[in-house]
Symmetry: C2
Subunit: 302 residues, 2 copies
């Protein structure tokens, strides 16, 4: 799992402050999460091979999370893309993108598939052999979802030497990887755990932006390897959270603690701050393992 | 008259290649012409006081000319703008902007006034005491207008000493500036030209992008102080012009020559080229005074 932060600042883009966008590489996928204005340029700056992006997840339809989407879709067209592109986002996203393509007489020459979201309960929106993606309904001024990317539990790891020594026929190896006991060539039942090891721990990434402090998400994101939780404000400005439906770094720390995540990643900083270490310190009052998102920063999750 | 090139490249934006956008400062106005993705960042980089922008002119609804508009409109809102903003552009621009504001539940708290264009003949779309703006219908793949910004002829310049020596009463000075002969205190008619000088020459800026080679625009842009004419290609790629409805540098030079403009400014270069001096050389085969647009470059027109 590799997470590249393309942008992590709120509201108005500036020369060195890009709005929200991230690339999550996991199990052969390159998922784009949110797409603020200038995302395609950030993809180039960060040297992401963006033709590999096949799925784009949009949390909500505020400009700092989706104004770059139409530009990226158009650039894919100009670059001669042929592969399907899937867009997951709030209802309305199809209308606004297709209207812009229509006005420019610029239909894509690749399949552009919209998966519009309207539900208010977590739902699975993507699945393959190795992972799932679920929505995380959030509490913001407009309809908003976070996204939970979760690897599936892998097969048990076979200790081939032990299995051979136990006289198990090779044709039973798949059964062993699936966790079953099997009989060896002498008809004796062999306990699975005596010839296999536990699979790698399952990794997951929970993206939660934008949102007010909302403990109702805790059960769903419990134990996530990484939690990205917005922290637009420091607690000195907590009074702004109610109206704007954003969170403080302290509240993000509280959520991380309650959800017992591995690491808390903070971002979506308001433009009024310049010293982001203050966000880390504030969150650490509740939860120790805190990282700060920064434009262009890469997190490798082993 | 001062022209700031925010971006002058065609199609897909890159880190150092911004799509079309320009700021024209003239007679107290700050006009924004086209607004590709990232324009608001370029405005900051070029240190343009963009709260002064009250009129935005959009040539056509291809992404590299308008995908930055919704972001700029949103940023104005976040910065607490109260002044009117006028948008001039092809029919459809109102729908696409208002749809995005609606989806984000982000109506502007300043008046946003659309002036949608549908005509196929030049028309005056703005006028005040000192200048006019007319559309220049162009020949492109979608409905497109260039824009002609033209100062009005100023008053004649009074030679106060000469007027006093000619014994003309001060109350007649406005008449003199308007070009009339007047009588002096002794009842003698004084020839206007003996006490006034010609006004400053009228300056004008013709913006023509995107367009195929189209000599029908020549009468309208005749004698413009500056002509910005797109030159997407060099003549080695002239075969691409027919399908894409773009021009070569040579064709831009031909238009400049026929229209007897002061200076030809080239831009909208295709991404396939890196040496833009080739565009200058090619245009100069027909017209000598050629300048090259470059992102961030400022032209002061005296």
């Amino acid at each position: 799992m590799k997470l590249t932060i393309l942008g992590c600042h709120s509201a108005t883009p500036r020369a060195n402050h890009n709005p929200t966008s991230q690339v999550l590489e996991v199990k052969g996928h390159m998922f784009l999460i949110d797409c603020g204005e200038g995302t395609q340029i950030q993809l180039r700056r960060c040297k992401v091979k963006f033709s590999r992006i096949k799925h784009i997840f949009i949390s909500h339809l505020h400009g700092d999370h989706f104004f770059g989407l139409i530009g990226l879709i158009s650039t894919f067209r100009l670059l001669g893309r042929e592969a399907e592109l899937h867009i997951y986002g709030p209802k309305g996203i199809k209308e606004v993108i297709t209207l812009q393509l229509k006005l420019g007489n610029s239909w894509t020459n690749y399949p552009l598939l919209f998966h519009e979201l309207e539900g208010n309960l977590p739902e699975q929106i993507f699945e393959d052999d190795q992972l799932t993606v679920h929505t995380i309904p959030l509490d913001h001024r407009v309809y908003t979802n976070g996204f939970l990317f979760k690897e599936k539990k892998g097969e048990r790891k076979l200790d081939v030497t032990a299995a051979v020594n136990a006289k198990i026929d090779q044709s039973y190896f798949p059964k062993l990887k699936q966790g079953f006991n099997v009989k060896n060539r002498e008809g004796k039942e062999i306990a699975n755990k005596s010839v296999t090891h536990d699979p790698d721990p399952v990794k997951s990434y929970a993206f939660c932006s934008d949102t007010a402090y909302d403990p109702s998400i805790v059960p769903q994101i419990k134990g996530s390897t990484i939690l990205y939780h917005e922290s637009t404000f420091l607690k000195t400005h907590v009074h702004l959270c109610e109206k704007t439906k954003h969170s403080t770094a302290e509240q993000a720390g509280q959520i991380a603690k309650e959800a017992q995540v591995g690491t808390l990643l903070l971002g979506h900083y308001s433009g009024r701050y310049s010293d982001f270490e203050l966000f880390r310190k504030e969150a650490q009052e509740h939860f120790k393992k805190v990282e700060l998102a920064a434009d262009g920063k890469v997190f490798v999750i082993d």
